[in-house]
């Protein structure tokens, strides 16, 4: 005889009802769903491949970051060497297949110590000495930390930029040390978003060199660009007219950091789309005024990510902190530029490494396929269980349906994302969930064969199988927790479903099925029982 306390039975019923409450909203259509009380308005999070949308993965260009960092260290080192009168033949960045490092070749052995001291001022460098060469490599640790910081800052900027476009429910997440995942439900063609997040959007203001002339290149034409220290030629795209290379002073006079607003506008004179910008009232406005006074009636240039947006002439001193960028824009381009400027610049270049988009029809097909597969899996397993164990098989079918319900409720409450392999995992859980019941029933059969009376056999079967079930489920649970801890992406998702499935199947076996059997046995106390 197995006895299950009233409390156990009632708490089991309560848990199953809660499972029902939190799983059925996922099956409702939108209208019925909206009528539900707030607390029940949770549905299973569908992965992008099921609901349709785009997924973009970006990677911080860590090589570029490293290079820029090395260059700034090089500059600083040169300065210090000169200051301390240390003679050296050269200091440069050496690139080997394993990575790159700063190499300082000294002329005198006695300088090694002081040179090492200069380089070890920044603690991110790993320094080694070989003869007269001092090698300093940026440590991997530091680069990782650096990348992490860049990723954190970038996520903020990307969120701003995407929010500006009005797209719904974007999901922006860090992935590993140097990646960012952007998910856009419902967006089928991510081209616009990619343009928006692919740009660093660093806006700078420079003076234009007066001695060198701008050089006009027709489309496809190659031109020779003269060189001059402190000056660089940057391209200004003029559409069909080709490209104008503008000689620009390297020194940055003003950056877009102190911008407070940017809006798309129509230029009053030309009727072309343009972007009006506004600087903050303290620093930006003052610098703008200084710049326009310095370059009054002279040409200056507004540069975005190494390209000249426009290179006009200051007609007056600008005291109010506003200006207008009149480039060669279409409406869309001007709008995108305004968004970029409003959202601020990214701390580093991000490259798109992965991109997936799924149309809504495929997602709907996958969901209905997944539903069908789950239903058929359920029916097949139910049929087989009833065939093998009769009424007891039927009991496990009841607990199996609660199992599925609770699994859905659990996924909903955990906010886990249901993916295509996730649906497959659920269907598979159906197959494996009955395992505990099979173990118990087989144990009961063994007891009956050994001559034990049915009632006692059932109680004994439960007791004996308990240990086995705990051991096998705990092994799985430990495995899935470790997988969750160390895995990424699809592995994590799998681990959640597996762990949840294991815990729920333990519950249904030892609470639900056991309660049902206990109640049933009470009613059929005197009849013959065949398991």
């Amino acid at each position: 005889m197995i006895i299950v306390s009233r409390f156990r039975i009632s708490s089991t019923i309560v848990i199953c009802l809660l499972g029902l409450l939190f799983s059925f909203p996922s099956l409702l259509d939108q209208k019925a769903f909206d009528k539900l009380p707030k607390i029940l308005q949770h549905t299973v999070n569908l992965g992008l491949e099921l609901r349709g949308g785009s997924h973009i993965q970006l990677e911080v260009d860590i090589k570029l970051v490293e290079k820029e960092h090395q260059e700034s260290i090089l500059d600083e080192t040169r300065k210090q060497l000169r200051k301390q009168n240390i003679r050296y033949s050269r200091v440069f960045v050496q690139t080997t297949p394993d990575g790159s490092a700063i190499v300082l070749s000294l002329k005198d052995e006695k300088d090694i110590q002081s040179a090492t001291k200069i380089l070890s001022k920044t603690d991110e460098l790993e320094i080694s000495v070989n003869g007269l060469n001092v090698t300093a490599a940026i440590s991997k640790d530091f680069l990782d930390k650096f990348a992490r910081r860049i990723v954190d800052e970038s996520i903020e900027v990307i969120r701003h930029r995407i929010d500006e476009t009005g797209m719904k429910e974007p999901i922006i997440l860090r992935q590993g040390t140097d990646r960012i995942t952007v998910q856009l439900p419902g967006i089928e063609d991510p081209a616009e978003v990619k343009r928006l997040i692919g740009k660093t959007a660093i806006l700078t203001f420079h003076g234009v060199d007066e001695e060198l002339e701008s050089i006009h290149a027709k489309a496809g034409e190659r031109v020779h660009l003269p060189t001059k220290p402190g000056v660089m030629y940057l391209p200004e795209e003029k559409g069909e007219e080709g490209i104008i290379y503008v000689p620009i002073k390297k020194q940055i006079s003003l950056t877009g950091k102190s911008l407070i607003d940017a809006q798309m506008n129509i230029d009053q004179q030309s009727g072309m789309p343009c972007v009006s910008i506004k600087f903050d009232s303290i620093e930006g406005t003052r610098k703008m005024a200084e710049l326009s006074a310095k370059y009054l009636h002279k040409q200056f240039a507004m540069v975005l990510d190494g390209k000249v947006l426009s290179a006009p002439v200051f007609q007056a001193v600008l005291n109010n902190g506003s200006a207008q960028i009149t480039g060669h824009f279409t409406m869309q381009e001007a709008n995108e530029l305004a968004i970029l400027l409003r959202a601020g610049s990214l701390p580093a270049q991000l490259n798109v490494v992965e991109e997936r988009s799924v149309g809504p029809s495929l997602g709907a097909d996958s969901i209905s396929d997944g539903k069908n597969a789950t239903i058929f899996a359920f029916l097949l397993v139910s049929f087989f269980m009833i065939l093998s164990y009769g009424i007891f098989g039927f009991f496990s079918v009841i607990s199996l349906s609660c199992n599925i319900m609770l699994l859905f409720a659990g996924l909903t409450l955990l906010g886990a994302t249901l993916t295509l392999p996730g649906i497959a995992g659920i269907a598979l859980t159906i197959g494996m969930a009955v395992d505990s019941n099979v173990l118990i029933y087989e144990r009961i059969r063994e007891e009956v064969r050994a001559g034990v009376k049915a009632m006692t056999a059932i109680a004994k079967g439960y007791k004996m199988a308990m240990m086995t079930i705990l051991d096998s489920n705990l092994t799985t649970l430990i495995g899935s927790i470790v997988l969750y801890e160390f895995g990424s992406g699809p592995i994590k998702g799998f681990a959640v479903t597996l762990a949840l499935g294991t815990v729920i199947s333990l519950f249904t076996t030892f609470s639900l099925t056991k309660s049902i059997i206990a109640v049933w046995m009470k009613k059929n106390r005197n009849k013959e029982i065949v398991v």
């Binding site: 490494v353 988009s357 069908n372 058929f376 494996m432 895995g487």
Partner: protein
């Protein structure tokens, strides 16, 4: 009342008697699979190699040969086109030929070549580095999970059990990877999940049998080890078969009704369940005979049935 019995009651299959032959066969299979993995390698999908996948519905039945040659003319890389369900539905896969070709322009080129009126159900672009990282991460996570499970089994049972369970898991993974290599099935992100599912099924199966062996070690302290393992295997055989069948039925439903994507995922799991069941019976348990298990001398007090009734 009718009851289905997959394994007749009181089966006495001599499993451990042939264990040397079967174990050598298992080792041989593992070696063969390893050789294939080493020399032939895996047929990595776009997930790992990097490239493009397009799932499209064409406005009318397309001439695939013509389409293939036109896409090849784009010079983007190797193009593979296959029908996907109906004649109008195509799956186009493009391996990325080299780094640096602009993604946006490649997608545009393909869109232009396919022409108007095409419905794009799915577009994927993957960089090869993402896949690489996924594999190394998967290996790391799985290794840690294996160690954790090994520890648990070693604590709950004896260390020998842990070693045997992991050996069986190793066997399963080798065989599944081998299958991916031998038949060249495409190895994609979901394949990793399929292998994880197999592993978790197999370890579960193994632990159940081990549990019975442990119990019998207490109960029949005088029985020879090979006899005892054989007895335990026979006692649990009915359960092993039943659970394998229910799980296989569920996966079969996935294979038949889950659509093309899930079907490609279900196939390795089906094989995995068969392999995992095989390894629990024929690898993990017989292997215990060759490791020196400590036997307790004390008779258990809870022996209510006695040996004869048990063997039937």
């Amino acid at each position: 009342m009718f009851r289905l019995h997959l394994i007749p009651y009181g089966s006495k299959f001599d499993i451990t008697g042939k264990s040397r032959t079967i174990l050598s066969l298992a080792v041989f299979m593992v070696i063969v699979c390893f050789a294939f993995i080493m020399f032939k390698g895996l047929n990595y999908g776009i997930d790992f190699k990097g490239g493009y996948i397009f799932e499209v519905r064409m406005p009318s039945t397309p001439d695939i040969t013509d389409l293939r040659s036109r896409l090849n003319d784009c010079g983007l890389g190797e193009v593979a086109i296959q029908e996907f369900g109906t004649k109008e539905d195509l799956m186009i896969k493009l391996e990325k030929s080299e780094e640096g070709s602009e993604q946006a322009s490649a997608i545009k080129q393909i869109r232009d070549t396919l022409g108007d009126g095409v419905i794009y159900k799915r577009i994927e672009t993957v960089g090869p580095k993402v896949g690489e990282e996924l594999v190394s991460n998967a290996i790391k996570a799985v290794s840690f999970a294996l160690i954790a499970m090994l520890l648990y089994i070693a604590i709950r049972f004896e260390w020998q059990f842990g070693i045997c369970a992991i050996a069986a898991l190793f066997h399963d993974c080798a065989l599944i990877f081998g299958m991916f290599s031998i038949f060249p099935l495409e190895f994609s992100e979901t394949s990793i999940t399929a292998i994880l599912l197999t592993a978790s099924y197999s370890i579960n199966d193994t632990v159940v049998i081990f549990d019975r062996i442990r119990e019998n070690l207490h109960r029949h302290s005088k029985m020879a080890l090979n006899e005892l393992i054989n007895l335990s295997l026979n006692e649990t055989l009915s359960r092993t078969a039943l659970t394998a069948v229910t799980t296989l039925l569920a996966v079969l439903a996935l294979y038949l009704f889950g659509g093309k994507v899930i079907a490609s995922f279900a196939l390795p799991i089906m094989v995995g369940i068969i392999v995992g069941t095989f390894s629990s019976i024929f690898v993990a348990s017989p292997l215990l005979m060759f490791l020196n298990i400590k036997r307790k001398e004390v008779e258990p007090e809870d022996d209510h049935r006695g040996t004869p009734a048990n063997i039937g």
